[in-house]
């Protein structure tokens, strides 16, 4: 009706948007149509926005709760590792295969004490085997690192007591386990100390982390000293880190190969003594 009034006054028809008419000024009945088309455009944009918002509503909440669930899983896995049993025999790892089982971490404490503040390779393997069993449900999709770290040892500086990486190999997606000891490369110490940004930025997508404490006894002459060490379980999305020849795809990760031993059931292959 607005356009009709304008026409009665003898003016050229223009929509409410003035010069922004779709048709030429001499066309008939174009002003109302132009206004309606603009109205349609605005409504379409508003509708698309409403639709997009409705479709994404709550998804960030779900993402957050998935993160919460994964974190809970990792914390629960670390707690389980603390309490789980393991066979007393050195070459057995499945509790159902042995009649003589003991708490894994009790055995670890004994081992640490007997070997003068160092863990034996057998003990490290037992820990990693138990951890792999615990992580079975997520083994395909997750890589992980477990470490025991002493922030201040008897000599006054920090050291890694043990670290174990379980990582994916390219092509066949098989897991390769690396077990590291006290003579590890300083970069592994950085990971254990929490300065993991270097590693995270390159590799650890969707990382989840749980940390615990452990009391260990160290021999000191005829006496013993109680030390409190940190344990940590770091889990991240499985991406291939190792090529089919066993080399790291990222040369920055070569320190794992040179500092740790590659473990396959029955064998421990070391480039240097761990």
């Amino acid at each position: 009706m607005a356009s009709k009034k304008i026409n009665q006054k003898g003016q050229n028809p223009k929509g409410i948007f003035g010069q922004l008419t779709l048709f030429g000024e001499n066309q008939k009945g174009q002003a109302a149509v132009t206004d309606a088309l603009f109205f349609l455009t605005i409504v379409a944009v508003v509708s698309v926005l409403m639709f997009t918002n409705a479709m994404s509503y709550g998804k960030s909440l779900i993402d957050t709760s998935v993160e919460y669930y994964e974190n809970t899983y990792v914390i629960s896995a670390l707690k389980t590792l603390y309490a789980v049993s393991s066979p007393l025999e050195p070459d057995k790892y499945n509790v159902f295969d042995s009649s003589y089982n003991d708490s894994l971490f009790t055995m670890l404490k004994k081992d640490y004490y007997v070997h003068n503040a160092i863990l034996s390779n057998e003990m490290k393997i037992k820990v990693m085997e138990s951890l792999k069993e615990i992580m079975t449900p997520v083994n395909k999709n997750k890589n992980y690192l477990f470490y025991i770290y002493n922030p201040k040892n008897i000599k006054g500086f920090d050291e890694i007591i043990m670290a174990g990486f379980v990582m994916n190999q390219e092509e066949n997606d098989e897991k390769i386990t690396y077990i590291c000891g006290t003579n590890s490369d300083p970069q592994i110490k950085n990971i254990a100390m929490g300065d993991i940004s270097y590693y995270l930025s390159r590799h650890l997508l969707g990382q989840r982390f749980a940390e615990g404490r452990l009391s260990l006894l160290e021999k000191q002459g005829l006496d013993s000293t109680l030390v409190i060490v940190n344990t940590g379980l770091l889990v991240w999305t499985a991406v291939p880190d190792i090529d089919k020849y066993g080399d790291f795809l990222d040369p920055n990760l070569e320190f794992i190969k040179t500092s740790c031993c590659e473990y396959t059931p029955g064998t421990l292959k070391c480039e240097i003594s761990p």
């Binding site: 026409n7 009665q8 009945g29 409504v43 998935v66 138990s130 449900p137």
Partner: protein, 207 residues
């Protein structure tokens, strides 16, 4: 009266000779079509948004309740025995139906990777039941023969509890899920038995 009528007709004739005028209906009808479609799109979208938000809110409410149930059953991740587990699951205060069991062979989860985000998004988007059906019949639920709680299902290798009176057997879960959207959670836990302290997996299903 006739003169007035003649004047009116003349006025209309003059108007029709002016540019931009094609008649009362002819001038407005083309503009009504986009306006009609605009209103249709707007109210259609509005109705869709209201329905979607209602569904999502109901889903989220149930989803968070399921997390709460799983966390409550999980507790400290340590069960001093089946009695302890039994007591824990029976004290869960919820209106949702759930089943909680201890299993020891998660390999059988197969393609249903619970850490896969798509798994949640799929169920979130209400896709067909077949896509997230859980092959519960493949599970080996953990149980020992020396435990009285398991006696009723002594021929089955599982231990599971549910607050749903219709729930008789873990192998019937699929039938229940046919008309429901279950949420499931898996956690590694420790179970202490007479034979030792074992790593088992807590499986919680809420529907």
């Amino acid at each position: 009266m006739f003169i007035v009528f003649q004047k009116k007709i003349k006025q209309i004739k003059n108007l029709s000779q002016k540019k931009g005028f094609i008649g009362a209906i002819g001038d407005d009808l083309p503009s009504l079509v986009p306006i009609f479609f605009s209103l249709l799109i707007f109210f259609g979208t509005l109705a869709f948004v209201f329905v979607t938000l209602g569904d999502r809110n109901a889903y989220l409410e149930k989803y968070f309740e399921s997390i709460s149930i799983s966390k409550e059953v999980l507790g400290s991740s340590f069960y001093s025995g089946y009695v302890d587990f039994d007591q824990k699951v029976k004290t869960v205060n919820t209106t949702e139906k759930f089943a909680a069991g201890l299993i020891y062979n998660p390999d059988l989860l197969g393609q249903y990777n619970l850490f896969d985000k798509d798994y949640f998004i799929q169920s979130f988007d209400n896709i067909g039941m077949e896509e997230y059906r859980i092959p519960v019949s493949d599970f080996d639920f953990f149980c020992t023969t020396d435990n009285s709680i398991c006696n009723s299902n002594s021929d089955k290798n599982y231990f599971v509890y549910s607050n749903d009176p219709d729930f008789q057997n873990v192998f019937e879960l699929y039938l229940i899920f046919k008309n429901e959207q279950p949420q499931s959670y898996l956690y590694p836990v420790v179970l202490s038995t007479n034979d030792g302290v074992f790593n088992v997996y807590l499986y919680v299903i809420v529907w």
